[in-house]
């Protein structure tokens, strides 16, 4: 009468979950996490990745979800894989919320979130090829970018 009993249901959902998590991990391993490279450092700057703090040096890979930080005397310049250039002034914090540049699949997206400090942005191919998918967020505003250069100053949010 009861072909799919509650136990079977649980068993199957666990199975499906395991399969999904395996394929998810596999795809995560095969996709290169690199989205850019540190190309300039003055003073002290760091990259926070999955809770670990890495000193920023020339040539360091930048990944999606990294947080870039500079000290009171620090500057950092990053080149993204779509040729977007980003530089941070002293005492700045910026999170790479999203970065996707896969032209052959038509996948383009860049979302940078500035927590505080100053930044200069020179847009690359993403805002050229897919202008609606390039965003720069600040605590108060969302900046849509259509192929251009700008600088931004963000004051830290006070709680």
């Amino acid at each position: 009468m009861n072909l799919i009993g509650p136990r079977r249901l649980i068993f199957f959902s666990v199975l499906v979950f395991l399969l999904l998590s395996v394929t998810w991990e596999v795809s995560a391993i095969f996709a290169s996490p690199k989205v850019g490279t540190v190309q300039k450092v003055i003073g002290t700057a760091t990259v926070v990745r999955q809770g670990k703090t890495i000193p920023a040096i020339m040539g360091l890979e930048i990944w999606e979800n990294d947080t870039l930080r500079t000290d009171p005397n620090g500057y950092m310049g990053v080149v993204f894989s779509d040729d977007t250039l980003l530089s941070l002034g002293p005492e700045s914090v910026l999170v790479i919320d999203k970065f996707m540049f896969v032209p052959k699949q038509g996948k383009f997206s860049i979302v940078l979130r500035m927590i505080k400090g100053t930044a200069a942005y020179l847009s690359g191919l993403i805002s050229k090829l897919a202008p609606e998918s390039a965003y720069f967020e600040t605590p108060t505003a969302s900046i849509g970018i259509r192929g251009t250069k700008f600088v931004v100053k963000v004051e830290e949010e006070k709680n």
């Binding site: 250039l85 100053t118 200069a120 847009s123 690359g124 505003a141 250069k149 700008f150 931004v152």
Partner: protein, 214 residues
Amino acid sequence: MRLPKILFIAWILWFALTGCSAKRDVIVPSQASRDLILLLPDPDGKVGTVHVATKGGSQILDKPGYAVEVEDISKPPSVPRPVEEKEMGDLFGHLLSAQPDPASRFILFLFYFEHDTAKLTHESKALMAEVLRTIKSRKSGEVFVVGHTDLVGTEGYNTALSSRRANHVRGLLVSNGIKPNALLVSFYGKARPLVPTKDEVPEPRNRRVEVIVR
């Protein structure tokens, strides 16, 4: 009957006045704005646009050296204003000198077309040699070919026309020895004019194919 009415008016006046002064007290100290966004020209001299949006409204920046300020997420951004060079230096200091070298970036070429055709203009034909030289000298494995039209005609027609234009340029590149798998063709019809115009306005600078060489 009159007294309550006068009292009522007095009450409104009192409320309005104190309300006003209270508001003024908040505004007068003029809290410095939190965020400032300043538009600059690209290294090639062109200027793009940025669209600044908060929950309270939005502004478009399209003049170089102009900035908008945002005080609060619930308030609209300020009207764009010009920023003096000194102020720029005070705000951003050596930031711009910390930018990575733009010389290694992509190069953009623009091919223009005769009205309503996939025929290159005379000047644009001469550009092909330089494009080929650049692709070969950079040993570029990624060349984007992007077709566009001006705003005359329907969307469907222009999408097809921009596709013909892009594929014409692609054909020229391939027949000049560029490997087809290095070429990434896309087309947008009238959706992305270089020079914004009203609908149905003929504009030669929008009848173009962009070739971007990395």
